[in-house]
Amino acid sequence: MTLQNLIFIILSVTTLAAAVMAVSFKKVIYNAFSLMLCLGGIAGIFFLLSSEFLAVMEIIVYVGAIAIAIIFAIMFSPPHFMHQPERNWPKTVRSIAISAFFFATLYKVLTTTPWGMSTTQEADFSIQHLGKILLGIYTLPFEVISIILFIAILGALLMARKREAHE
C-alpha cells in the first residue's frame, strides 16, 4: 500500500464520515461544523486529483465563505437550545431506502461501464492553462457566473430590505 493510497483512504473515510455527520446530527450547528470538515476532506481529494488550485479555492470559497454564511444564518435562526423536533422514524427509513436505491443504481452504472482512459501524455494541470481556458472557451460562462453572483447578492439584499419594509 503506497502512501498515496493511504492518504486517499484516510481522506475518503474522513469525508464520508463528516458527510454522514453533516446530515445526521440533530443540531444544525454541528451539521455546519461537520460540513466544514467534509469540505476540507474534499479539498484533499482535489489535491490528490492534481488540482491544487481548486483545493485551495474549495477551502477559501466553501469553507471560508459558504460554510461561514451558513453558520451566520444559524445564528439568526432559532437558537439551537430551542426545542428540537423528534426524529421522524418512518421518514428516516424512507429516506435511507431511497438514497440506498439511488446509490445502488449509480453503483451498477459506474461498475458496469468500461471507462476510456486518456491517451495524452503531457498533462498540463497548471494554473496558466486553467486561466487560458477560463478566458478562452469558458469566457461566456465565466461572465455569466459574475451576473449570477451579482443578482444573487441583489436578491438577498432585496429580501432583507423587504423584511424591513414590512416591520
Binding site: 481548486l54 498540463d124 438577498a156
Partner: protein, 103 residues
C-alpha cells in the same frame, strides 16, 4: 487505489447518496441546504476525476469545477436569505411547516 477512476467515482456516488438522504430527511431548511452542497461537491469530484483520468485537456474539468463553486456560492446566498424571510414569517425553519400551498 488513488490511481483508479472508479474509486473516486464511487466516493462521489456515496457522497451524493448521503446528500440525497439529507435532502429527503432533514426538516431543518439549513440542513437541506447543507445536503445540496454535498451533492454539488460530489459532482465536482466526478468532474475532477474525469478530468484527471479521461479528459485529454487537463484544464477543462478544473475550469468547470471553478464555475460550480461560484454557482454554489450564489445559490447558498439566495437560499439563506429566503430562509431568513421564511423564519421571520413563521418563526421556524422547519420545511414541514411550509406546507400551506397544496392540493
Amino acid at each position: 487505489m488513488s490511481e483508479s477512476l472508479i474509486a473516486y467515482l464511487l466516493l462521489s456516488g456515496t457522497l451524493a447518496a448521503i446528500g440525497v438522504y439529507g435532502f429527503l430527511e432533514r426538516r431543518n431548511l439549513i440542513g437541506i441546504l447543507i445536503s445540496i452542497e454535498l451533492i454539488l461537491n460530489a459532482a465536482s469530484i466526478n468532474f475532477l476525476a474525469f478530468n484527471k483520468f479521461v479528459s485529454p485537456d487537463k484544464g477543462l474539468g478544473q475550469a468547470i469545477v471553478l464555475l460550480i463553486i461560484g454557482l454554489a456560492a450564489a445559490e447558498a446566498t439566495l437560499a439563506l436569505s429566503i430562509i431568513l424571510v421564511l423564519y421571520r414569517g413563521m418563526t421556524s425553519i422547519n420545511i414541514e411547516e411550509a406546507n400551506h400551498l397544496k392540493g
